[in-house]
Amino acid sequence: MILLLLLIITGYLINLVLPWWGIAITGLVLGFQMKPKSGKAFGIGFLALFLLWGGQALYTHLVNDGILSTRIAEMLGVGSPLLVVLITGVLGGLISGLAVLSGSLLTNKDK
């Protein structure tokens, strides 16, 4: 749970100063430090950024009345603007999940 919260907070902060792949750095570092089990590592990493990116996207989508997300949905041919929100969450989740897993594997002791 702490890892999840830390991932969300640091992921948000690093994205203010670094390009989008900054979330891989925080994922790697936190994975290395917090040493989650490898099965959990990916799941927590994924969930954190899925919530962060998906949440940010959902907020923007709602405040913008879906003007842009509807256009992007049509551009990508995905049908619904909510799918665009979902894709945003999944993309962030994938990177973060892999990063936390990689970080954790660098330290994982034998069990």
């Binding site: 989008w20 490898s38 913008n64 842009l68 256009r71 894709i87 945003t88 993309l91 990689s102």
Partner: protein, 822 residues
């Protein structure tokens, strides 16, 4: 994640292998992570870099507008002036500045702020540099742009702009403003399209202004049918040409009223004894004139208006895009207070008004683009034959950069006529390729900005004429009205002085008689001031009656729009601005009025397909208005097209060379007056067809085709659907345009709305002690697809609701937001 439990159980037995596997596993996931980051940061084909693109902080989400922009005070380095920009409720900027530099600096800045991608894309396209940014899919377009001499012409224009201190000052002020905005951008601030296409804006330089202006010449005066006319003469003979292209329909009503007398002698021009016959069947197709880009403008004098002051109207018809080609702006500084629309990339206002005068433009269809067949001495192409001697060519190496690939070098040979293109024969592979040089008005040095600079500040008729004298291309019908009560129209531009029919066919590049021997003096350009009929108008039709002593072209727009406007203006009195807005939305079709009664007379009623009788009744009851809610316009449009094709295409299809098709107005006249016109017969059948047979067969064909295309006869056939009016994105990015706008109008109606083309700006201005302007364009001030302001005017535009324009005399106290430059 990657290894099954059984595999794990196996390796756990061996510590060494397990340790090694663990390293392998972490290296593998790390590798996968890096690969994924790399992949998500790279563009594949037209798929934007996914991670970069979806990043909610700096990706496309950052372009979603979540609130009205806030007012800002900008302390700008290097800017020591003073300017305030107030945005009104439609977010139109009203710029108030202390001097001209600050004024155009601020204009450059706000245009970049609202329309950066458009600003850059249009000029990259005009410079033949698209491939540099978006890759090899644009390479052929760039090559064509270069080969027709677009950058060459822009370079010449730049020299002339440099030579005029006033132009040079404002072009540089504008550039400084654009660059200040660009350098303030972080990656997240980039307009959406840069993120989709994955490139970044570059520095703005004055030559880009020249590119933009040459691009307008390409759009409006960048086509000809020289080869098709040559082929048509060779194939169908002089008589056909005389009948269809030299004889104008009886209903033709030229722009300058025929009552106008010409009190000058034309400058002499020497014609050859016989017309040159070029090698036939060449392929110059890509330069053919795009059909049907036209416009309307008119002005009525105070004696016909309710207010007693002139009213002016203008609606230029162009390809409709989002963002719109136009951007509304008010420019206020000492010596200028002007409101209107600008083209992105040029300082000043192109169509608009000020406290004293209003002006507008439509295109002149004069022939300012000619092909010359060139005779080279040998394959080196170092010399060409002209005026009895071998003359040296010059070479221009076009360096076309291509994103992600090697730079392409393209050598273009230039003669004194212009750049040379190689044309292979379509029909005869054995034939030696022909070489054609292009003589084109866009290759002339020009300083057209000076015209708009003058018009923006004009106080009366004389100022307007002075401003027009600077203008080169694309030639425009400049309509004018002033609060002194004057109305006027000048057919204006730098027009070559040609012998009759010079350049409508492919010219002899060796004979100096085919060169452009000189220019029509500016004061000889067709014009009229305060004519007796008390209005002036233009709708791209013939510039002047046959007694005008110069040859301009044999190919102008059909009479329909121009005639309708003139008929309506002649019968109207007590005119208000509202009346003029309604005339802009007039959907009456002279084409239907002249053709449909005859078609209905010819059609044989006993051999119609299902629904035929009902449709026939519908057509008989129709009033010739191309209205969205009606079915008849759809049927007429398709039936008349099928009829036209049935009459002409069999003969035209007997050869593969490109031929020139008759304009529809003259076609209607001939087919009505000549029952035995030989083209009516279908050459592919034994029997000799009559008009009745062709009309009936094309009627039935139309019913079948519309049923296949639109479904069963009924509401789905309404014109509003069939017109297929789309406003696509400027770079054709899916999702960023607006499709299938249920619209009235037609190419031959005053409201010339039709699929993807139409009135790109509707403006009505009532001059007088208090000038009042009205306007709308299909788009919005913002170029950001994530803003509600991107397309907010599409609906009012579709229904013909013009906004009252907020022409401010002093800085306003109420506004949506403002920018202050200090």
């Amino acid at each position: 994640m990657f290894t099954s439990n059984r595999f794990l159980t196996f390796v756990r037995n061996d510590k060494f292998i397990y340790g090694w596997m663990k390293v392998f596993k972490s290296v593998l996931t790390l590798f996968l992570l890096i690969a994924l980051i790399f992949a998500f940061n790279t563009q594949f084909g037209s798929v934007p870099p996914l991670g970069k693109f979806f990043d909610p902080q700096a990706g496309f989400w950052a372009n979603a507008e979540t609130s009205v922009p806030e007012s800002e005070e900008l302390e700008l380095e290097g800017f020591d002036g003073n300017a305030s920009v107030y945005f009104d409720d439609r977010r139109v900027p009203h710029i108030f500045a202390d001097n001209e530099y600050d004024l155009y600096y601020a204009q450059g800045y706000v245009v970049a702020r609202d329309r950066l991608f458009q600003l850059e894309l249009q000029t990259l396209d005009a410079a033949g540099r698209l491939a540099e940014k978006i890759g090899d899919r644009a390479l052929e377009r760039d090559r064509t742009t270069r080969r027709r001499g677009m950058p060459y012409g822009a370079e010449k224009a730049l020299e002339m702009m440099k030579a005029d201190p006033k132009t040079w000052e404002i072009v540089n002020a504008y550039a400084d403003g654009v660059n200040t905005y660009i350098s303030s951008l972080d990656s997240e601030d980039l307009p959406l399209e840069y993120k989709i296409l994955d490139f970044e804006p570059e520095e703005w330089t004055p030559i880009k202004t020249a590119h933009l202006l040459k691009n307008m010449t390409r759009t409006l005066a960048g086509g000809n049918s020289d080869d098709a006319t040559s082929n048509t003469i060779a194939y169908f003979g002089e008589e056909f040409i005389e009948k269809f292209f030299e004889t104008k329909p009886a209903l033709n009503d030229p722009i300058i009223p025929p009552s106008r007398e010409w009190d000058f002698d034309a400058m002499p021009v020497q014609a050859p004894d016989t017309l040159y016959k070029p090698a036939s069947a060449v392929e110059l197709g890509e330069y053919e004139r795009p059909e049907g880009i036209g416009s309307n403008n008119w002005a009525v004098s105070g004696s016909k208006t309710k207010s007693g002051y002139p009213i002016l109207a203008n609606d230029p018809h162009l390809t409709l895009t989002l963002p719109s080609i136009w951007y509304e702006v008010q420019l206020h500084a000492p010596g200028i207070n002007s409101y209107g629309v600008s083209l992105q990339g040029t300082p000043g206002i192109v169509i608009g008004f000020n406290e004293n005068v209003a002006w507008g433009v439509t295109n002149v269809g004069s022939d300012v683009m000619d092909w010359y067949e060139i005779k080279f001495k040998d394959d080196s192409q170092n010399e060409y034959w002209h005026d009895g001697e071998w003359k040296p060519t010059t070479m221009r190496v076009e360096e076309i950069k291509v994103k992600g690939e090697e730079t392409v070098l393209d050598t273009v040979i230039y003669t004194h006529h212009g750049p040379v293109t190689k044309a292979e024969s379509k029909l005869d592979e054995e034939r030696e390729p022909a070489y054609h040089a292009l003589r084109w008005i866009a290759h002339e040095a020009s300083n057209d900005i000076r015209t708009f600079y003058g018009l923006n500040r004009a106080g009366n008729y004389d100022d307007y004429v002075e401003a027009l004298s600077y203008y080169v291309a694309p030639a425009q019908n400049f309509v004018f009205a002033s609060n002194e009560g004057d109305i006027a129209l000048w057919v204006n531009g730098k027009l070559p002085n040609k012998w009759k029919h010079q350049g409508r066919t492919v010219s002899d590049g060796t004979d100096p008689l085919y060169d452009w021997q000189g220019w029509i003096p500016f004061e000889h350009n067709p014009h009229v001031k305060n004519p007796e009929r008390e209005f002036v108008s233009s709708a791209n039709q013939e510039s002047a009656a046959p007694d005008y002593p110069y040859y301009l072209d044999d190919d102008f727009a059909p009479f329909e729009r121009g005639r309708r406007i003139n008929e309506r203006l002649a019968e109207m009195n007590d005119i208000t601005a509202k009346d003029m807005q309604e005339l802009q939305m007039d959907d009456f079709s002279h084409y239907a009025k002249t053709l449909l009664p005859s078609l209905l007379e010819w059609v044989t009623t006993d051999s119609l397909v299902e629904n035929g009788d009902e449709i026939l009744e519908l057509m008989k009851d129709w009033n010739y208005y191309m209205e969205a809610e009606e079915i008849a316009p759809s049927f007429f449009r398709h039936w008349s097209g099928n009829f036209y094709r049935a009459v002409l295409y069999d003969e035209f299809g007997t050869t593969d060379v490109s031929l020139r098709l008759p304009s529809r107005d003259r076609f209607v006249e001939i087919v009505k007056s000549e029952p035995n016109f030989e083209f009516i017969d279908n050459v592919e059948t034994e029997e000799t067809e009559t008009r009745a047979q062709i009309a009936t067969a094309s009627f039935n064909e139309t019913v079948t085709e519309l049923t296949n295309y639109l479904g069963e006869f009924g509401d789905d056939w309404k014109w509003g659907y069939f017109i297929e009016n789309d406003v696509d994105h400027l770079a054709s990015i899916p999702g960023l345009g607006r499709q299938n706008l249920f619209s009235s109008g037609s190419g031959e109606a005053v409201n010339a709305t039709r699929g993807q083309h139409g009135p790109s700006w509707r403006m009505v201005v009532e001059v007088g002690p208090e000038v009042k302007g009205y306007g709308v364009y299909p788009g919005g001030a913002s170029g950001n697809p994530g803003s509600p302001n991107y397309d907010s005017m599409i609906e009012p535009w579709r229904t013909g609701n013009l906004f009252e324009l907020k022409f401010m005399k002093e800085e306003p106290s109420e506004y949506l937001y403002k920018l202050e430059f200090r």
